[in-house]
């Protein structure tokens, strides 16, 4: 059934009424705040200034200082690295585990249920567990630092590069099971007669995967890679509550930079400018998402 044939009514004003509450809500809570952020980014507003402080319009000055700020450029690099490693490790682990559990075996249902646990588990609760596990005096993983060939005595969450590694591992634990379940659904849609035909033609397991399985799960793969990127770009609480963006500002992704610049450094205008850069990035991701989606529809 294609999309056009599923529209059944066309004559009424009803769809506008139906969507009005959502449009109002988004206008009040998303669009209006965005306009405020854009406006603030063009001023010299600070947080906690006296009420009668005059706020000056400064044009693009904040954006200009962002261009010359090494912390901002570093935060862009940290965001990209974090997102990229999430895509590679979480989506990769998701695919591998899905292939593993794709064949029928005893206890498969149980494993699938188990895979749901980490991503259904709330961020704060996960943070509490990981801070405890990584505690360098008493944590079950953290105490390993006494036996490792490299120096982690500064703490897993408080020294570089271990803090960054820790948040990657934590994000991976939290997200890869989700990708695994989605991959599994896609793998089960791979037509069996194709796999059988390939087997008859003498293709080994690896060749079968490359020529039959991979092409049919490719759309899922691309979609999940993009989703992983989006999740990583949005991730705030897990990083904020474990490292706070530190040590120094080594794990400060763009969304953390927005928050810290406002609440730690009181520069509301600069924070807004970083936020506007983030909005542009979000917009670009949405465009990529749509392009991929329309390509997938055409090939159907």
């Amino acid at each position: 059934m294609n999309k056009r044939s599923s529209s059944r009514f066309s004559h009424t004003k009803l769809p506008y009424l139906l969507t009005l509450p959502i449009i109002l809500l988004v206008a009040l809570l998303v669009v209006y705040p965005i306009t405020q952020a854009i406006w603030t980014s063009l001023t010299d507003k600070t947080l906690g200034a006296a009420v009668d402080t005059k706020i000056n319009f400064v044009g693009l000055r904040n954006y200009n200082s962002l261009l010359h700020s090494s912390t901002f450029l570093a935060s862009l690099r940290i965001t990209t690295t974090y997102a990229f490693l999430n895509v590679v490790f979480s989506v990769g682990a998701g695919l591998l585990t899905a292939i593993l559990v794709n064949k029928k075996f005893r206890g498969r249902g149980g494993i699938r249920a188990l895979m749901t646990a980490p991503w259904a588990f709330p961020d704060i609760a996960s943070v509490i567990i990981f801070i405890w596990i990584l505690n360098s005096a008493f944590g079950v993983v953290g105490i390993l630092n006494q036996h490792l060939p490299f120096d982690t005595s500064g703490g897993w969450l408080t020294s570089s590069p271990y803090a960054f590694v820790s948040i990657i591992v934590m994000s991976m634990w939290k997200t890869f099971p989700f990708y695994s379940i989605v991959f599994l659904a896609a793998l089960q849609g791979v037509p069996e007669d194709l796999t059988e035909a390939a087997t008859v033609d003498g293709a080994g397991p690896f060749q079968r995967f490359k020529t039959v399985t991979l092409p049919s799960i490719r759309p899922t793969f691309v979609l999940l890679a993009l989703l992983a990127f989006i999740f990583a770009f949005r991730q705030f609480s897990m990083i904020y509550l474990t490292t706070g963006g530190g040590p120094e500002r080594d794990t400060e992704t763009l969304v953390l930079a927005v928050y810290n610049t406002a609440f730690k450094y009181y520069d509301l205008a600069l924070s807004s400018a970083i936020g506007v850069v983030g909005l542009v990035v979000t917009f670009l991701i949405a465009v990529v998402f749509l392009a991929l989606q329309s390509r997938a529809e055409k090939s159907n």
């Binding site: 567990i129 405890w132 509550l241 969304v255």
Partner: protein, 283 residues
């Protein structure tokens, strides 16, 4: 017809290897949660032993007692429950209307509406939570659990719409043609046919909305400043930052707060996945 590709022996090795890797992955997934349960019921002296004891010794429930009676876990859970229920009500109602408009109607602005939802869904809350706070503190709407649930709803509604849209589209055309002949209005069709037929998907939207709100931290910590109004995410995070809190207490809190969504999600997995991937897998 079985086609034998390898000897029985190499098959056996392959199967064993597979089970081994599956076991290993499962252990990695489950270990942090297992460790939470162990530490939460264990006496502090045992917890601090070196090397660590991997199973509970002298299990007791003191941590649970402390998180409820020394901290205000009960109150925080009630607050979280209130915000989550309100978020669920708003999200479910508005998602049904929005998905109906997107799936059954042809109208100008349909594409723009879809784009608006997509952008909202992808938008990191951290980018606009400060302006939201600034704007609504002018109206004295901050530090209110009701306002918090409105904001939560705004961010979950897109997911709700994407879960419901394919379900609504899947209703056979004959059904609504018959209903129209019987004199049913579009709203009547929604109420009498679509909502009953799609109740599993609607239930899934409710669960997703409930736990999206239940687990949310950033907006909650920015908007709510009175300790008595803290939802559980903020209460636990503030307990965590008080360094003298015993780890047993903290992890007991994480269990009480974290396990309900895990258990419920296991039942509605399928719907959640289709919503979060924006129904794009099947095109």
């Amino acid at each position: 017809m079985a086609i034998v590709t390898g000897s029985k022996f190499s098959n056996a090795i392959r199967t064993t290897l597979r089970y081994f890797v599956i076991l290993l992955v499962s252990l990695l997934v489950i270990f942090p949660l297992y460790w939470m349960l162990v530490t939460a019921v264990q006496a502090p002296e045992v917890t601090l032993r070196y090397p660590p004891v991997l199973y509970p010794i002298d299990p007791n429930l003191k941590g649970f007692h402390a998180i409820f009676f020394e901290k205000q876990m009960g109150k925080w859970l009630i607050n979280s429950g209130f915000v989550a229920i309100l978020t669920t009500a708003i999200t479910t109602a508005l998602s049904i209307l929005g998905a109906y408009a997107l799936s059954w109607f042809k109208w100008r602005g349909k594409v723009a509406f879809g784009l608006m939802l997509l952008f909202t869904q992808m938008l990191p809350e951290a980018l606009i939570v400060i302006p939201i706070f600034k704007i609504y503190s002018n109206f004295h709407w901050t530090d209110s659990l009701a306002t918090l649930s409105l904001i939560h709803a705004a961010f979950v509604i897109p997911v709700g719409v994407w879960i419901l849209k394919p379900a609504f589209e899947g209703i056979p055309k004959e059904v609504n043609e018959a209903a129209q002949i019987d004199g049913c209005t579009p709203m009547g069709i929604l109420r009498k046919i679509i909502i009953p037929l799609c109740s599993p998907a609607i239930l899934a939207v409710g669960v997703v909305a409930f736990f999206a709100s239940w687990g949310e931290y950033l907006i909650a910590v920015t908007m709510i400043s009175t300790e008595g109004k803290y939802p559980a995410s903020v209460g636990l995070a503030s307990t965590m930052s008080q360094l003298d809190t015993p780890i047993q207490t903290l992890l007991s809190g994480a269990i009480v707060y974290g396990l309900p969504p895990v258990i419920l999600y296991m039942f509605i997995q399928r719907f959640v996945i289709s919503g979060l991937t924006a129904g794009a897998i099947k095109g």
